[in-house]
């Protein structure tokens, strides 16, 4: 009995030794998976948050600017017809922007078109309001 018991324990120990590498690999994989998932989620969330916040604060700036102008332009009989038309077009573009669909296929295109309208409006009114984006690179060209 004693002999058998010894034998069985010894077998387990050897078995454990042989399998330890495989077992720790599995454990490590599982642990890494959990940490990686969490880190990825956090990074994705942070990136989404940054981009979303950046785009929407820019659009908010344009929208606030445009809405404030509507009244003053309507009151001023001298205001240019083209400026009023451009203003309406800008507001309409911002209102129809796919704000809740970050993977919308025309998101970047529509954002570029809003920026262009805003520039046109600023030029027509002789104003130089500037929304500072963080990603502007200064350099030289010929």
């Amino acid at each position: 009995m004693f002999q058998d018991g010894m034998k069985s324990d010894t077998d387990d120990i050897f078995h454990d030794v042989i399998m330890s590498e495989e077992r720790s690999q599995v454990e490590g994989y599982q642990e890494g998976l959990v940490i990686g998932k969490k880190a990825g989620l956090q990074e994705g969330y942070r990136l989404g948050w940054e981009k979303g916040a950046a785009i929407n604060s820019e659009l908010g700036f344009y929208y606030g600017f445009a809405k404030t102008l509507v009244e003053s332009l309507e009151k001023n009989p001298k205001s240019k017809q083209r400026a009023q038309k451009t203003l309406q077009s800008l507001i309409q573009k911002i209102e129809t922007f796919p704000r809740h669909d970050p993977v919308h296929s025309e998101l970047q295109e529509q954002l570029a078109s809003i920026r262009a309208k805003f520039k046109q409006l600023s030029s027509l009114l002789g104003l130089q309001p500037e929304f500072k984006r963080g990603d502007e690179v200064k350099g030289v060209s010929f």
């Binding site: 083209r82 078109s113 262009a116 520039k119 046109q120 600023s122 030029s123 027509l124």
Partner: protein, 332 residues
């Protein structure tokens, strides 16, 4: 043969652009020295008639005459476009167009004279409308290009605008109901497209670039007999001819003479080349041959070439070597 006529000296730095007025009796040039010079003929000789200063703070990259010849527009690296009015031979800066974020690269008047286009390193193309009381209103800001826009030019009869860019493409624009839109993107160049221009009829485009090639594009309107597919009411444009092997360096500029049909090129190899279309050339597969080359036309990069609109075969060129040269084609 391309015979030298004269050399016009005066600019203190690189000369970027030369432009003939519609009558062909005045030549405007712009330079890194922040001035525009107006050249004209006195007797046999070409002389500097005026120097326009204090319009810009930085390099003046290009100049363009209005179709009536009474206005000159100047595009500068100081991010503005100047409008100069000519009255009794004197030029006066009557407007400064602001809006571009940085360097304005090119300016062009539409054939009607009531529209002006500008383009910039800020990747946008702006269209300005001239109102009855000579004010310039921004009619549209187009941000279709993804890189620096190098040049803009108008169709000779229709209100169609073409632009070319560091993003290797050429784009065409037209006015729709409420705004201007990009109606065509032409892709074939392997690198930066430096210049684009129409032929006399406007049914062909010519372009040149960093890929050391000239390309000819043919317009195919809807319902064309060749069966080239089109979208809606817009024409399709197809590259029907590519000229390579003639240039060792970038081709910076090209001009298609509306009188003679001759094509002149200016490049980083200091040379000027002249091409012409071969007789019986197929419209859908045209062939062009080299007429002449002037190897050391200037001692440095040639930046621009321009055919005189009235005198057939009279060509102006300008260079980094600060000089402007006039040439005459002979023996054709």
């Amino acid at each position: 043969m391309l015979e030298p006529v004269c050399t016009l000296e005066g600019h203190k730095e690189t000369v970027w652009c030369v432009a003939w007025n519609p009558n062909g009796n005045l030549l405007a040039s712009s330079s890194s020295d922040k001035t525009i010079r107006i050249w004209g003929q006195e007797g046999e000789h070409w002389v500097c008639k005026s120097v326009l200063t204090e319009g810009h703070q930085r390099t003046i990259r290009s100049v363009a005459w209005s179709p009536c010849g009474n206005y000159l527009a100047s595009a500068s690296f100081d991010a503005t476009t100047g409008i100069w009015s000519r009255k009794e031979g004197e030029f006066e800066c009557i407007a400064t167009l602001e809006g571009h974020e940085n360097e304005v690269k090119s300016v062009a008047w539409a054939p009607s004279g009531s529209l002006l286009a500008t383009c910039s390193r800020d990747k946008s193309v702006w269209i300005w409308e001239v109102t009855e009381d000579e004010e310039y209103e921004c009619a549209s800001v187009l941000s279709s290009h993804t890189q620096d826009v190098k040049h803009v030019t108008w169709h000779p009869t229709k209100e169609i605008l073409a632009s070319c860019s560091y993003d290797d493409t050429i784009k065409l624009y037209k006015e729709e109901i409420d705004d201007w839109t990009c109606c065509n993107t032409l892709q074939s160049h392997q690198s930066t497209v430096w210049k684009v221009c129409f032929d006399q009829t406007g049914s062909r485009l010519l372009s040149c670039g960093d890929d050391k090639a000239l390309k000819i594009w043919q317009e195919y309107p809807p319902g064309n007999p060749e069966g080239v597919a089109t979208v809606g009411s817009d024409s399709a444009w197809k590259c029907v001819c590519t000229l390579t092997g003639y240039f060792n360096r970038t081709v910076y500029n090209v001009d298609w003479c509306h009188n003679t049909g001759l094509i002149a090129t200016a490049g980083g190899d200091d040379a000027i080349c002249v091409f012409k279309e071969e007789e019986c050339s197929d419209k859908n597969q045209p062939s062009f041959s080299l007429v002449t080359t002037v190897a050391k036309a200037h001692s440095q990069d040639v930046n621009c070439v321009a055919w005189n609109p009235k005198t057939p075969g009279l060509l102006a060129s300008c260079s980094d070597d600060r000089n402007i040269k006039l040439w005459q084609i002979t023996g054709l």
